[in-house]
Amino acid sequence: MFARYFIELPMSPEQVTAALARHPEEWVPGLAEQANHVGDTLLADVGFGEHLRIARTVALELGEPIAMATKTLIPLRWEATGPRGVFPSMEADLEIAPLSADRTQLAMSARYVPPMGAVGRAMNRTMLFRVAEATLKDFLDGVGRALMSPTAGASAGTAI
């Protein structure tokens, strides 16, 4: 199944790319355990909801950034480490695409497998796809906030 979400950042594509190339602890929201290198597995909490938050700890794996003709993308995937509940495993590309010299679209194109087999597939139509989309939105919004924070701005060598 597919899900896609995007945000726009008032930063240049170069700034966003540089910030995302830094250590994951500087931009992955909900990071529970540090990794030593891109390619290592991280533990992070993903979920949705601010007041009544539903979340799971997932094993998150980040790939190396890849420069494409029109954008740069960072492959990633996550999978719940314990009982999955309604949380799907997710495989996605974090896409950095220029909108202008100082605006960047940060998008996630994700593919997921609904949990609970055939039952999950049936539930996906009514409910689970909302969980997937909400989780994706929550994660990407968190990335956006981290990139826009003064600390991230400073580490990317910019003043936002």
Binding site: M1, F2, R4, A35, N36, H37, V38, G39, D40, G63, E64, I66, M68, A69, T70, K71, L73, P75, E91, S109, R111, R121, N124, R125, F129
Partner: protein, 380 residues
């Protein structure tokens, strides 16, 4: 045959030898041919070429003619370069000895060595350095080698040096051409990968999203299920394409060779962790393992990650070497170590699976308080 005729005959042999060596571009074949020609030109019974190490003036290879494989095996280890052979290595000049056994500088022969008396030797110089020495023994038809034999051998040694230089340059050129072709192939794969991702996958993703939305809106259960089936098919196609694309472009290896990538990994780990990291790579082994580079990088990355997180080590050594059965990739730390039967040891299952998946075997040695050694043994 008179002396003048013998000389003419020898000159003819030397000319033939020069032509024969000049036409050969394979270094191994050149070395074999040098020994054969030296025997032929000097009427020796036994001949050998001792190839010196690049960093130490010791014999590393010993190419022989006139002695059977069985006799050679019975003698055992190749000479390391002591006694008369060592003298030639040190003095770097032609040397002629009537009877080796009577010479006070000899160290004698090892057990099972055939008897040898007369001796003639000369250094072979290639690219300004002593590549090795030609050793000849047991002059046929005379009790010792003559001045003419020595002069002829010196000429042959010069020709041999040029032939070795040629063969090496040719090998370097071949290597450079292969490397160029490899880089061109990588560039082409990279271009295809980008086109696939920017074009095909994006289109499939858009179609999949559209069908998924239609399925969600469909009031007909059966149509909804069929549309979801189509979405799953598209999902599978995207997954296969992604695997293909990212398989073609194994991250850190995108523009580096395995050896370079491992060294960079070691530097990065050292900078990040403060653990002194030494990387010792046999370049020829790394070249042969290029096809497994992505997996080997990941093995080292995981092993170093374990060292950084658990070992409390002050140093770690990453070694890629050739062994009798193939290649060995070793990550050896001086950290805390652990009981390999403990859950910590079980945690290395990923590494073991990865090595087994590429046809290798993972060997783990660790003793609490004495460090850990992880070895991946791979066929070549």
């Amino acid at each position: 045959m008179g002396e003048a005729e013998r000389q003419v005959d020898r000159y003819a042999l030397l000319i033939d030898a020069g032509l024969a060596l000049a036409s050969e571009l394979d270094l191994e074949a050149v070395l074999e041919r040098i020994v054969e020609l030296a025997i032929e030109i000097t009427d020796a019974r036994y001949g050998a070429l001792g190839v010196l190490g690049e960093s130490t003036p010791r014999i590393e290879r010993f190419i022989t003619k006139g002695i059977s494989d069985q006799d050679r095996a019975a003698i055992g280890h190749i000479p390391v370069g002591e006694g008369i052979l060592g003298l030639l290595i040190r003095e770097r000049r032609p040397m002629r000895i009537p009877d080796i056994g009577a010479d006070p500088r000899t160290h004698g022969f090892p057990p099972n060595h055939p008897p040898m008396h007369s001796f003639l030797g000369a250094p072979v110089i290639a690219l300004g350095l002593v590549f090795g020495n030609i050793y000849l023994t047991e002059k046929q038809g005379a009790s010792e080698f003559s001045e003419e034999d020595e002069a002829a051998l010196v000429v042959l040694a010069i020709q041999a040096g040029v032939a070795i230089e040629n063969a090496r340059l040719y090998a370097e050129k071949e290597l450079a051409q292969r490397e160029l072709a490899r880089l061109e192939l990588l560039e082409e794969r990279e271009r295809i990968a980008k086109e696939l991702h920017d074009g095909v996958i994006q289109s499939l993703f858009a179609v999949g999203m559209g069908l998924q939305g239609t399925a969600a809106m469909s009031p007909d259960e059966e149509i909804g299920r069929r549309l979801e089936g189509a979405v799953e098919e598209i999902d599978r196609a995207i997954r296969d394409l992604r695997n293909y694309i990212f398989g073609l472009r194994p991250g850190i290896l995108a523009d580096r060779q395995l050896g370079q990538a491992l060294e960079e990994l070691g530097h990065e780990f050292s900078d990040r962790s403060g653990v002194l990291t030494v990387v010792d790579i046999d370049g020829s082994v790394a070249a042969e393992l290029a096809g497994l580079a992505g997996d080997l990088i990941q093995v080292v990355r995981e092993a170093l990650s374990n060292v950084g997180r658990h070992a409390d080590a002050t140093s770690v050594r990453v070694t890629l070497r050739r062994i009798d059965t193939g290649a060995e990739l070793e990550i050896d730390d001086d950290g805390a170590g652990f009981d390999v039967d403990s859950p910590a040891g079980m945690g290395l299952a990923n590494l073991r699976d990865r090595v087994q998946a590429i046809g290798g075997e993972l060997v783990l040695e660790s003793i609490p308080g004495q460090g850990t050694t992880v070895r991946a043994r791979l066929p070549l």
